[in-house]
Symmetry: C2
Subunit: 397 residues, 2 copies
């Protein structure tokens, strides 16, 4: 039998998806599962966008341009005006989800062994793409006790060496729900300029900010060559399966490199781009409604968790995630137990163990990420379920 | 300004797309261009499949399973029965085009510096994905004079060393239009078994064989752990923009590794999968018609090229490509000249310089790939155009 690659064997399975076999078994046993483990919104995709797909007249589904459909690039560039970004269509490439935007970015700015600094906890797949591209992720821990605020600039600077190519932020944050302020970003901008680093910002959740105004990294002047933005329609327009994301930069040399990778995979998906194009037409009302729904759920979730009493938590400022610390030794074991050994009124719940979002696994060992992608009634019941589970968990007896 | 990666700077731009700026300029000048340069079929996508997209009832475009929609995996597994493949849905993953299937394969079987042997000329993007994954492609030259027949097993064996992980074939061949026989494949199977190598076969063009019957590598018994097949709906169902491909293997360890990469990019495009699912319903008639159309075009093209008299060529047995040798010193220069300095009745033609399909660039220097993806009338006119061009090309005076 031929042998496989070490890299293929070494790459970790998705921590969010690790529990899936146990969930499948629980479902086979007839249990209902409240899915708080994955960022799959339950809000309907914009109806006019679904209609646009149905009204397509083309009779050949052809390759499009590798950079994406010109009309979509122009539309999205205009959309960014509301964030004071001043983009042209040339600054924006359509990618197959934000995933591909991350891959192209890593490939274009880092060689084998180069380093990228990322505040942890962070979206676990950043680590997967770093593994794929032989890049070292250097984590800088942010803390639940401080509501995951951006670490100090001095702490970033301590980690910078000759191998460092970029600082990578997720703002608003997955898995933390934190929102970085203009002042915090400004301080970091000085660092990347001083050390000639790229500043990559994943702004996928930008539309869901509940307290303060969102500041896009694209609104700052004088750092155009350093800034790379990752975006996607998946969350804002509840269109995860369309596989449409964006890679945005005003650094022409960077985009030239990206073009070569984009040509290699030929083109992004056509139907998803048609859907995306219509998503932006009169999108303000749709986005406002979605945001208010998530805000309401966040408040419900916050109150319900507070009522349980034994969970360390905070009120997230943005996105639709929350990291909480449970009164258990090992949150991953607890999440597994919820699926294999627990039920309450025929139901249980699924959460994402937070150790998958940390390089320093020990810090996240008692934490889980809760995605509030269920309606408020389901959220309430699932938190009731969690309360009972904690009272019955053998370790908590 | 921050610096880019060497790999991003080093990776070659797509040779097929290199001439695009000149083509754009020619169009701006009002020239009509016959596009024989790219494998974008002009045949309509199956109408029932386009209808299936329009009849979708879902109101949320969600992530699907990373391995692809179960219904599609089952349907495609059954489709392979006609090639004596005996697949189950578990043996088949849906990918974002054949491109992603190639990427996942390279990542899963090769570490940095490992080698894959490929008969050249080969599909240029194999080289791009090898560059992305730090793999060395070892070419084994096949020749126009021999209608690009499979090189001898001894020649393959001479190239095998401890770094060799796989032999990679494209059957039927892009860019050559060659078809390997069961006997030829059988001989190669002995080589891969003896040296414990993977045998990757890109069978994207399997439905377009004009002389002899197609033999899928999946029909051979006893080499299940060695075989990996790359497939796609792009060419067979004229659905390039859907971005749906497949990765097929009965090697469970290999698929376990692929699963991790598949999870990393979350899921393949939803709409493309819905389109694909319907493509296979009653597909025999659609495929038969497409095949007969391509056969007719192939014959027309062969006759027209023969009439020109100064071009070295052969009658391809499959796919919709032909490599021909022109009476010019540098085919790439000639292709550029066709766009910049030539026109005939307001028209010119675009072909793919074949040096992009060779590692040994010198061998392909006088060759071009012609894709017969235009109707027969356009093919005739474009060959007329080529004849005039050759008579006017300064070097041929």
């Amino acid at each position: 039998m031929p042998t496989l690659s070490s890299r293929g064997l070494d790459i970790g399975a998705s921590p969010i998806r690790n529990l899936l076999p146990f969930a499948r078994k629980a479902k086979e046993q007839g249990k209902h599962i409240y899915h708080l483990n994955i960022g799959q919104p339950d809000i309907a995709t914009p109806a006019p966008a679904l209609k646009a797909i149905k009204e397509l007249k083309e009779n050949i589904v052809s390759y499009g341009p590798s950079e994406g459909l010109p009309a979509l690039r122009e539309t999205v560039a205009s959309y960014y005006n509301r964030f004071h970004a001043e983009l042209s269509a040339d600054d924006l490439y359509v990618t197959t989800g934000a995933s591909e935007a991350i891959l192209f970015t890593f490939l274009s700015i880092c060689d084998n062994g180069d380093e990228i600094i990322i505040p942890e906890p962070f979206y676990a797949n950043y680590l997967g793409f770093a593994h794929l591209t032989n890049i070292k992720i250097v984590p800088l821990t942010s803390r639940l006790e401080e509501e995951f605020k951006l670490p100090n600039t001095e702490d970033f600077e301590k980690l910078i060496n000759t191998k460092t190519k970029a600082i990578f932020l997720c703002n608003p944050g997955n898995p933390t729900g934190q929102l970085y302020s203009a002042e915090q970003l400004e301080r970091l901008i000085h660092v990347v300029k001083k050390h000639r680093l790229f500043l990559i910002v994943d702004e996928v959740y930008r539309e869901f900010c509940y307290e303060n105004k969102f500041t896009s990294i694209l609104s700052f002047k004088g750092i155009e060559d350093n800034v790379i933005v990752i975006d996607s329609i998946s969350k804002v327009f509840s269109s995860c399966g369309a596989r449409v994301g964006y890679l945005i930069s005003k650094n022409k040399s960077f985009l030239q490199s990206v073009t070569k990778y984009a040509q290699l995979r030929l083109s992004p998906p056509y139907f998803g781009q048609i859907l995306a194009l219509s998503c932006y037409e009169n999108c303000s009302e749709y986005i406002h409604k979605a945001k208010e729904e998530y805000r309401y759920r966040r408040d419900v979730l916050f109150d319900e968790i507070t009522k349980i009493g034994t969970i360390k938590h905070y009120k997230p400022a943005a996105a639709f995630y929350n990291i909480v610390e449970l009164p258990v030794k090992d949150a991953e074991e607890f999440c597994k137990w919820l699926l294999t050994d627990f039920e309450y009124d025929g139901s249980t719940l699924m959460m994402a163990p937070a150790n998958g979002f940390y390089c320093n696994k020990a810090i996240g060992k008692q934490q889980v990420r809760i995605a509030y992608v269920l309606n408020s009634a389901d959220l309430k019941t699932s938190m009731k379920c969690l309360k009972v589970a904690l009272s019955k968990y053998p370790e908590c007896q």
